[in-house]
């Protein structure tokens, strides 16, 4: 990228000052570095999840934990969270379209696609609110109590829980269960192992709840702040500010980078929490 400065007859590089060395504006470059640092924050969260999971004898099976749908439907593993993933993908595509309309200075187009992006973000947040309220209100998982346990040996239940488990049901090692709460009392079931011992269901790894709420919560907070920033920029678009700016719709590009990053993080949250 060497060019020649006519007055000095000396090659000038991108790094001699007076020009953007990466051919990207300051704001955009800093958005990239902010996202890099944010990626490290999320990586720290997800890696601590992995380390704790490696250290535990058992871990709640995700397709057992995340298998409810709105409307009282149960035992449909991963369907709801796949829907949430699609909502984010769609809102990412609408964001791409908003940026493209910005490149051709089409104010109405930018506004329309940004609005659709915001709607996608709100649907995602609503889904997450439902998911959290189910886990907290119906399944009683908190940041320090994890009722999702996993059997380490096969056996036969000696009690029924009044939901899915009947007395005499058999289970195999590795199967997850949910300890129900009756009133204020936990009601762990008794079971007999294959060697004839009588045991009681135990709580699952304690860290699971805190990891789940903090990691999906931190991601949800990113979605929420993304929706707020998108709304502010949408108002600016509609007011015509950007049409008169030298860098035109670059603000839309910057919030676009952030919004795609939110989708990018979800790729890994989805992988680590729900798929593996």
């Amino acid at each position: 990228m060497m060019t020649t400065d006519q007055s000095l007859q000396k090659p000038v590089s991108n790094w001699d000052g007076g020009r953007e060395p990466f051919k990207a504006s300051y704001g955009k470059l800093m958005m990239w570095y902010f996202l890099l640092s944010d990626a490290f924050t999320f990586a720290g969260f997800l890696i601590s999840y992995g380390a704790l999971r490696f250290s535990s004898p058992t871990w709640p099976v995700p397709d057992f934990v995340f298998s409810s749908l709105p409307g009282g439907i149960h035992h449909k593993p991963l369907i709801f969270v796949t829907f949430m993933t699609f909502v984010l993908i769609v809102s990412s595509v609408t964001m791409v379209r908003a940026v493209q309309e910005g490149h051709r200075y089409n104010k109405k187009g930018v506004a329309l696609w940004m609005m659709l992006t915001i709607v996608g973000g709100l649907i995602f947040l609503a889904c997450q609110a439902w998911e959290w309220s189910t886990l907290m209100g119906k399944e009683h998982m908190t940041i320090h109590v994890n009722p999702f346990g996993t059997h380490i040996e096969s056996g036969t239940y000696l009690d029924g829980d009044g939901h899915d488990v009947q007395k005499g049901d058999q289970f195999v090692a590795g199967k997850s269960y949910l300890i129900h709460k009756h009133g204020d009392e936990w009601a762990p079931l008794r079971y007999q192992t294959e060697s004839g011992e009588v045991k009681q269901q135990q709580f699952g790894p304690k860290a699971f709840g805190a990891l789940f709420y903090f990691i999906t919560g931190f991601h949800g907070f990113h979605v929420f702040s993304g929706v707020v920033f998108l709304s502010i920029i949408l108002v600016n678009v509609l007011s015509g500010i950007y049409a008169n700016r030298k860098n035109h719709y670059e603000m839309v590009e910057k919030i676009g980078l952030y919004w795609h990053f939110v989708d990018l993080v979800w790729v890994f949250v989805f992988l680590v929490f729900y798929l593996l």
Binding site: L36, F54, H103, V267, L275
Partner: protein, 160 residues
């Protein structure tokens, strides 16, 4: 920044939707198939299942960064300054997972020691060492509770 003409750029956006959507469906399908939800009694081996899902997710990440975030149109210097630091994460992942595995073996070793001899006897359902009930009437690992009594009061004698 218009590196593609408008029609071509629009096609990239919609192709991105199809690619990300299909890859997501394939991932979920592998997860459900591998764990025996789709074909009764059929399971995929865990390394195959996990590796394929991780690779597909990395492909999704690549597509989002390079197409949606326009990384492929940036100068090489910018690309390197953003992507190279993430290489550090490879070390972090290896180090912490290795450490987590060590904790696992410590826990296993700690459970072999009779509960009465442990320094911090788990109080009720702490959730951390919950797998075997350690009532004095119950046996621990098939060893009758009586024979698992510590000899003397020298405190824990395990050497870790």
């Amino acid at each position: 920044m218009a590196h593609l003409n408008y029609e071509a750029a629009k096609r990239v956006a919609y192709r991105g939707f199809v690619i990300l959507g299909v890859v997501t469906i394939v991932e979920v399908f592998i997860a459900l198939l591998g764990k025996g939800y789709i074909v009764d009694g059929f399971h995929l081996s865990r390394p195959v299942m996990y590796l394929s899902m991780i690779c597909l997710s990395l492909y999704k990440a690549y597509y989002i960064i390079f197409e949606f975030m326009h990384m492929r149109y940036e100068l090489p210097g910018l690309v390197r300054s953003v992507l190279f630091p993430t290489i550090l994460l490879i070390w972090v992942i290896i180090a912490f997972f290795y450490e987590g595995d060590t904790w696992f073996h410590w826990r296993e070793a700690a459970r072999e020691i009779p509960a009465e001899m442990q320094l911090g006897k788990p109080s009720g359902n702490s959730g951390l060492v919950p797998v075997h009930p350690t009532d004095s009437t119950e046996s621990v690992h098939g060893v009758p509770a009586d024979s698992a009594k510590p000899e003397g009061h020298g405190g824990p004698s395990h050497s870790h």
